[in-house]
C-alpha cells in the first residue's frame, strides 16, 4: 500500500484522540487533584482560538499582520464595557462583539490591504497602536489601569461563564467549530481561490479572481473570530487592560502560529498549546522563563523551519508507512 493512502486514517485517529482528551480533561484533572489547572487549560483554548484566527490571515491569506491583538483586545473591551454598563446577556455580547470587530477589520483591512509586504506589516501594526493608545486614554473605562469585572456573560439555559467548567466547554466548542470551519474552508471554492492568490497573486488576478475582495473577506472573518476570542478572554480573566492591545501581544500570537505551523489547520492551536505549556513549565523552575522560551523559539526558527506541524507531518509519514 502506498504510504499516502493511510495518512487520512492516521489523521482521523489523531483528531479523535485529541478531541476525547480535550473533553475528558476536566475529569482527568479532578482525578489527579489538579483542578486549578482547569483555568490554565481554558486559557490555552482561548489563545488557540485567537491564534487560529491569525493563521487564517497569515497561513492562508499569506498576509503577515502584526496587529492582530487589536481585534482580540477590541473584543475584550466591547464585552467588558457592555458588562460594566449592566448588559449581562451573552448573546448580546457575542453579536455586538462580532459586529464591532468585523466592522473594525473591514475598515483596517480596506486600507491596509492596499499595501503589501513589509508595508502591510507596518500599517496593521500602526492601527493596533492607535487602538492601544486610545484604550490608554479613555479614563471612563479604566484608562491605563484597565477594567475589572464582577459579573460575566450569561447565556440562555443558565449557561454562566463564571463557572470554570462551563467556560472550558464553551471555549472548547468555539475552538472546535473554528477548526472544523477552517478544515472545510481549505478545499472549498473560496479556499482554493485564496490559496491560489497566496501562492501567486499576479496569476490569480490575471485569472480574473477578485483578489482584493477575497483578502478582505478572510481578514474580516479572522478579525471577528479574534474578537470572539477576546470576549472569551475577558470572561475568563475578569479583567482587560490596554496591554491586551500591545504590539507584543500581536507578536506573541504570531509566534504561536509560526511555532505551530503556518497554514496548517492545527497550527495555531498547536502553537498556543506548546508555547503556553512551555512557559508554565519553565515558570515553575525559574523566574527567567522568558529567557529560556526565547532560546527554544530560536531553536525552532533555525532547526524546524516548518514549525511543529512540519515535524508532526514527518512523524505521520513514518507512522503511515508502517
Amino acid at each position: 500500500m502506498a504510504p499516502a493512502d493511510r495518512s487520512g486514517t492516521v489523521d482521523f485517529a489523531a483528531v479523535v484522540l485529541v478531541t476525547v482528551l480535550a473533553v475528558v480533561l476536566p475529569w482527568l484533572l479532578r482525578a489527579l487533584q489538579m483542578d486549578f489547572y482547569l483555568s490554565f487549560a481554558s486559557r490555552i483554548v482561548v489563545y488557540a482560538i485567537a491564534a487560529t484566527s491569525l493563521n487564517l490571515v497569515l497561513g492562508y491569506g499569506g498576509l503577515v499582520s502584526l496587529g492582530h491583538a487589536a481585534f482580540v483586545g477590541l473584543g475584550s473591551y466591547v464585552t467588558a464595557i457592555l458588562l460594566v454598563e449592566g448588559v449581562t446577556s451573552g448573546t448580546v455580547h457575542l453579536v455586538t462583539t462580532v459586529a464591532i470587530t468585523a466592522s473594525m477589520a473591514l475598515f483596517i483591512g480596506a486600507i491596509s490591504l492596499r499595501t503589501r509586504g513589509v508595508y502591510f506589516i507596518m500599517i496593521t501594526l500602526a492601527f493596533a497602536q492607535m487602538l492601544f493608545y486610545l484604550a490608554n486614554s479613555v479614563k471612563g473605562y479604566g484608562g491605563d489601569e484597565g477594567l475589572t469585572l464582577r459579573v460575566r456573560s450569561l447565556f440562555a439555559f443558565g449557561i454562566d461563564l463564571k463557572n470554570g467548567l462551563v467556560f472550558y466547554y464553551v471555549a472548547l466548542l468555539v475552538l472546535a467549530l473554528s477548526l472544523f470551519a477552517l478544515a472545510r474552508f481549505v478545499p472549498s471554492r473560496l479556499g482554493r481561490a485564496v490559496l491560489a492568490l497566496r501562492d501567486d497573486e499576479v496569476r490569480a488576478e490575471a485569472l480574473g479572481f477578485p483578489t482584493f475582495r477575497y483578502k478582505l473577506t478572510i481578514f474580516v472573518v479572522a478579525g471577528a473570530l479574534a474578537g470572539v476570542a477576546g470576549a472569551l478572554s475577558v470572561n475568563l480573566q475578569g479583567y482587560v487592560s490596554p496591554n491586551a492591545l500591545h504590539w507584543t501581544q500581536s507578536g506573541t500570537l504570531l509566534v504561536m502560529v509560526i511555532l505551530g505551523g503556518v497554514g496548517s489547520v492545527w497550527g495555531g492551536a498547536l502553537g498556543a498549546l506548546v508555547l503556553l505549556l512551555l512557559q508554565e513549565v519553565l515558570a515553575a523552575y525559574t523566574q527567567y522563563w522568558e529567557f529560556w522560551t526565547g532560546w527554544v523559539l530560536l531553536g525552532v526558527v533555525l532547526f524546524a523551519r516548518r514549525g511543529l506541524a512540519g515535524l508532526l507531518f514527518a512523524i505521520r509519514a513514518r507512522v503511515a508507512q508502517r
Binding site: M130, T248, E290, F291, R305
Partner: protein, 305 residues
C-alpha cells in the same frame, strides 16, 4: 500660550526626533539592504542604556559611561550579527519576526539577570541647570547637549553615507543587493560593520535619554515601534528619509502632547479636551504614517525604483 513656550516645545520635538534618528539609522539600513525585519533593534537600545548606566556608575564619569557603553554595544551588535542575524537575511519575514522576537525575550531577561530590572543614570551635575538661550527662554543645559550630539552625529552619518566610499557601497547595496555583490562588494563584512555602527547609535540614544526617561527592562519596546514608523515614513533604506521622518515624528509626537492639548483646552469644553487630548496626541503619529503609506506606499524618499 506664548511664543517662548512654542519655541521650547519645538526644541524638545527636535531633540526627540534626533534621538529617534539614531535608532532609525541602523534599522533602515539593515531593513533596506538585507530586507531584514529586526524587532530586537529596540533591545540594543536597552542593552546600550544599561551598559552606559553601569559604566557611568562604575567609573563615576558620565562621559566615560556613554563612550564605553557605545563601544561595548557596538561590539555586542557585531557579535550578534555574525552569530545569529546573518543566518536570517536569506529567510522570509516570518522567520525573522519569530527569531528577533525570541531575541527580545532573551535580552530582556538576560539584562534582568545581569543588571536587575533598572539602573539609575543621572545627567552630570555641571549640566543640571538651565541656560538662557534667548531673553526669557530658559532651556535645560542637558537637553542642549542631546541636541548638539544628535546634530553632530546626524551630520557625520549623512557625510559618511552620502560622501564616502563605504557610504557609496552601502547605498549601492540598498538599491540592489545582488548587483552590488556581483560587482565584488563584500556585502557580509560591510553589514557586520553597518550593524555594529547601528548598535552603537542605539547606545548613544539609550545613554543620552537615560537621565530623562528611565533605564529599565522593556524600555526599547515602544520606541522600537516609533523607529519603525520613522523608517516606513522616510522610505526603507534611506538615511535622508530616516532623518526627515525622525524629525517629523519627533515634532508631531512632542507638539501633539503639548501644543495640541493646550489648543484643545482653549477651544473645547474641559471634559472633552482632557479626554480627547492625550488620545489624539498619541495616535497622531500613527495616523500620519497611515496617510503617508496610502498616499506614497514606498515612503517619502523611496530608495528602490
Amino acid at each position: 500660550m506664548t511664543g517662548i513656550f512654542v519655541l521650547e516645545q519645538v526644541l524638545n520635538g527636535l531633540q526627540f526626533g534626533l534621538m529617534l534618528f539614531l535608532l532609525a539609522a541602523g534599522l533602515t539600513l539593515i531593513f533596506g539592504v538585507m530586507d531584514m525585519i529586526n524587532l530586537a533593534h529596540g533591545s540594543l537600545y536597552m542593552v546600550g542604556a544599561f551598559l552606559c548606566a553601569w559604566l557611568a556608575s562604575a567609573t563615576g564619569s558620565f562621559v566615560f559611561g556613554i563612550l564605553g557603553g557605545v563601544v561595548l554595544t557596538a561590539l555586542f551588535g557585531a557579535v550578534l550579527e555574525m552569530l545569529l542575524l546573518r543566518s536570517l537575511y536569506a529567510r522570509d519575514h516570518l522567520a525573522q519576526v519569530l527569531a528577533t522576537f525570541a531575541l527580545i525575550l532573551i535580552l530582556n531577561d538576560g539584562v534582568k539577570m545581569v543588571f536587575g530590572t533598572d539602573l539609575p543614570l543621572s545627567a552630570p551635575a555641571s549640566l543640571d541647570g538651565p541656560v538662557e538661550l534667548l531673553p526669557g527662554l530658559m532651556y535645560p543645559a542637558y537637553r542642549l547637549l542631546i541636541l548638539a550630539v544628535g546634530f553632530a552625529l546626524a551630520l557625520l552619518l549623512y557625510v559618511l553615507v552620502q560622501k564616502t566610499r563605504v557610504g557609496a557601497l552601502v547605498r549601492a547595496g540598498a538599491a540592489n543587493r545582488e548587483m552590488s555583490g556581483a560587482m565584488g562588494v563584500n556585502v557580509a563584512r560591510l553589514f557586520t560593520i553597518v550593524f555594529a555602527i547601528g548598535a552603537g547609535l542605539c547606545a548613544v540614544a539609550g545613554g543620552l535619554l537615560g537621565p530623562l526617561l528611565a533605564v529599565q527592562v522593556g524600555m526599547g519596546e515602544n520606541i522600537l515601534i516609533l523607529a519603525f514608523v520613522v523608517i516606513v515614513i522616510g522610505g526603507i533604506g534611506s538615511i535622508r528619509g530616516a532623518l526627515i521622518g525622525a524629525i517629523l515624528v519627533g515634532a508631531i509626537d512632542t507638539l501633539g502632547r503639548t501644543l495640541l492639548q493646550q489648543m484643545l483646552r482653549e477651544y473645547l469644553p474641559p471634559q472633552w479636551a482632557s479626554a480627547a487630548g492625550p488620545a489624539i496626541a498619541s495616535i497622531a503619529v500613527y495616523v500620519f504614517m497611515a496617510v503617508v503609506l496610502v498616499a506614497k506606499p514606498q515612503g517619502l524618499f523611496p530608495v528602490r525604483s
